[in-house]
Symmetry: C3
Subunit: 346 residues, 3 copies
Amino acid sequence: MFPLNTWYVAAMPNEIDDKPLGRRVCGQRLVLFRGPGGKATALEDWCPHRGAPLSLGRVVEGNLVCGYHGLAMGCDGKTVSMPGQRVRGFPPVRAFPAVERHGFVWVWPGDAALADEAKIPDLFWAHDPEWAYGGGLYHIGCDYRLMIDNLMDLTHETYVHSTSIGQPEIDETPCKTTTEGDSAVTSRFMNDIPAPPFWRTALRANGLPEDQPVDRWQICRFTPPSQVMIEVGVALAGHGGYEAPKEKKAYAIVVDFLTPETETSMWYFWGMARNFRADDKALTAQIREGQGKIFAEDLEMLERQQKNLLAWPERELLKLNIDTGGVQARKILDRLIAAERATVAA
Amino acid sequence: MFPLNTWYVAAMPNEIDDKPLGRRVCGQRLVLFRGPGGKATALEDWCPHRGAPLSLGRVVEGNLVCGYHGLAMGCDGKTVSMPGQRVRGFPPVRAFPAVERHGFVWVWPGDAALADEAKIPDLFWAHDPEWAYGGGLYHIGCDYRLMIDNLMDLTHETYVHSTSIGQPEIDETPCKTTTEGDSAVTSRFMNDIPAPPFWRTALRANGLPEDQPVDRWQICRFTPPSQVMIEVGVALAGHGGYEAPKEKKAYAIVVDFLTPETETSMWYFWGMARNFRADDKALTAQIREGQGKIFAEDLEMLERQQKNLLAWPERELLKLNIDTGGVQARKILDRLIAAERATVAA
Amino acid sequence: MFPLNTWYVAAMPNEIDDKPLGRRVCGQRLVLFRGPGGKATALEDWCPHRGAPLSLGRVVEGNLVCGYHGLAMGCDGKTVSMPGQRVRGFPPVRAFPAVERHGFVWVWPGDAALADEAKIPDLFWAHDPEWAYGGGLYHIGCDYRLMIDNLMDLTHETYVHSTSIGQPEIDETPCKTTTEGDSAVTSRFMNDIPAPPFWRTALRANGLPEDQPVDRWQICRFTPPSQVMIEVGVALAGHGGYEAPKEKKAYAIVVDFLTPETETSMWYFWGMARNFRADDKALTAQIREGQGKIFAEDLEMLERQQKNLLAWPERELLKLNIDTGGVQARKILDRLIAAERATVAA
């Protein structure tokens, strides 16, 4: 279950630079490609001639030419031409609103008439020279909401990521969850603790001592449909923590876009935006590699959790205080999905 | 959907030379082996003793001895013997009419009483010393009729096989389709055009210049249940094209036998018979290798087309002029299948 | 179909020495681990917090700590603790009676109130210094009863294991089957025959000549739910066969525990207990390797037999004299399963 009248990240821009990309988003088989002027475009991955996937074709002068018999499809889903044919009566394929912005390709899988580019979230760090971003993409065989739960309850770091970002103080410090309209925020502040390995590296990269006590924070913000931005960082203890001056801390935003593929599988666009040493591309690559390894540790857990849920469909999950973030996120999603259905029914 | 009261190519003879072969044909699990005197034989792949697959056994004096407990099965599907057992009451397994002819093993998956060897197509080139044949076998995850469509509309060569046999002139030249009883023929003649790479090689092999304009032809003949023979060739331009004397052309027949495995998978027996330099075995091997690579280019397209058709089962495909050959072939098949069903019902 | 109120071998002890083991037994997803004092323990592989598989966790002081968020599960299926939580109201998971004995971990997948450790079979050779044991584990995609059939009809050795333990005399010698309460025994005695390769090696290892005629015996004993112990051996001909003095024979017990995973898959714990040169660990390893290769020869046959049975579900299998052992074993199983169901219904 996922809302459809909303923007999802469907691809990283470089995935469609060289050739079309076939990708399922919210159960729909899409082809993503660059149309006229390089504009990101999303259509049903179906050639109206014989049902071949358009994603096996290539882009010629802004049209997507089917790799089977040469039908040229326009970015509006209408056939432009085909060798030796009059194409006016060809049935169109569905075009999905698509926008490239903030370093991602966004797609609106629902009613195109409702698509509003203003609703694409504003990712300030994507345009601020003081910030650098690196990230990647994983396919995971689980309901995207299991990943929302994962990201809204960071006590799992102590167990799943015990050698990098986990530490017992996460478990020992209660989190606080609030909702603001359609957002849910869960936060945890840990003062005067040792920095775990990942943050030691970050402190060192930032020119700070890594063996002194730090104040650490985690502020997870869910925004529908399935975006979780996590402000994370450490400051040398006693300098104000989250509010400490820039030269006393290492601060970043963990970026998570979760895009449903089917009811039980998803695309995980993960990354990290940081505001220290933004020009250091080697550091960006190093952080991306480290983060990629850490986030890969979640995959087996999530996929086997999904299998368990399918095997015991009647069982209820617990909703503890640490789960409040995920529970609130699901309530927001349920409300949006119900509203969508009511609109369709009316 | 496929007719059953007809002959299908089930194997290449060398596939059953050394040991029995298990193969599904038209949804039936068969074991193919050489019975008395080496005769090609087809039975249900089921041992009446405990249901083991007979294809894991071995042939002993013309009987197929089960590899589990030694039951010896005769080529008529009746148990011949079993160590320590009286076998007279053993239930028989179904025997399917099978014939080795023209370099293929043919099986009749329907009513054995209707099987008529005279209906096996006459492949003259298999017995003419002026002709040479080479070919292979692919398994494809698609309805065999998608491959009929593929072979009866060669405009796909321009896109799928652009580096070997494709050229824009195929797209630019209309085809002409006719039906003759249960056959459908679609043909295209292109005059005074450059030869594409595959035909350049063939011209050179045939001792002809490869850089002169040629007349090229493609005559695709569908015969039920799923045989497509394609006369193909090029002649030096202005010498009569298809009718040009032998020393002015390179001429061959693309041989395609499509055998359904299930409703959505098939065996593709492909090959080429040529009537130039028939004695040159190295050339036969070279052509087979080249053709194998070219025909492998179709596999991903066909399998993903099949997935699309399953994902959008309600969608109709277009029937353009280029599709007439496939459309006519399907009409012939539909007629045969309907007639079979009427016979069974009556 | 399998009885549930009985003991099955679920694991080899070393499989749970280092970390928890997830394993499906009789359709149930279990986690096996060593609880307090190293005691073998079996629980549902489900964390009551969020449904994560407990088998991805680790054992800490006898409790199984979930690898996702740190819930500590006790060996009775009740949550012991969780960081920052009161766990008294947490729903328990099911605990299964589990016992480590005779070199195996036994689990009772049915009603725990009925579990009786006295019903675990007595494997005398596991504790007798004159005997040595070696074995392994295979996963097979078939109903466990197909393996019972396999082991209760050793004529298959002539065909499946023709290069090691098979010989035509097995086929030529009738077997004799009896039942004793809930056991079925099928036996075959072959006198004055050549020893096949496996037994030649055993004779040589036992300091006996390998090229003299031998008396060979096979006594297969099925005990529910799915244990088949096969007394096997050869004695120099004319010294009493099975009853020959120890210095004139090579004697062993083939050990087979068949544990259903699902209706169409199973765990095969196989091994051999021998009473010659029990101290020779190199010989134990050599025999295990040889037996592993021989028993692997059955896998393809069993898995393809299973596929055939699923493809032709309406077909009956023959019940010949050689099948009597398996037929009797199934009758015993059917009786036990019916009795279980009657109890549940009442």
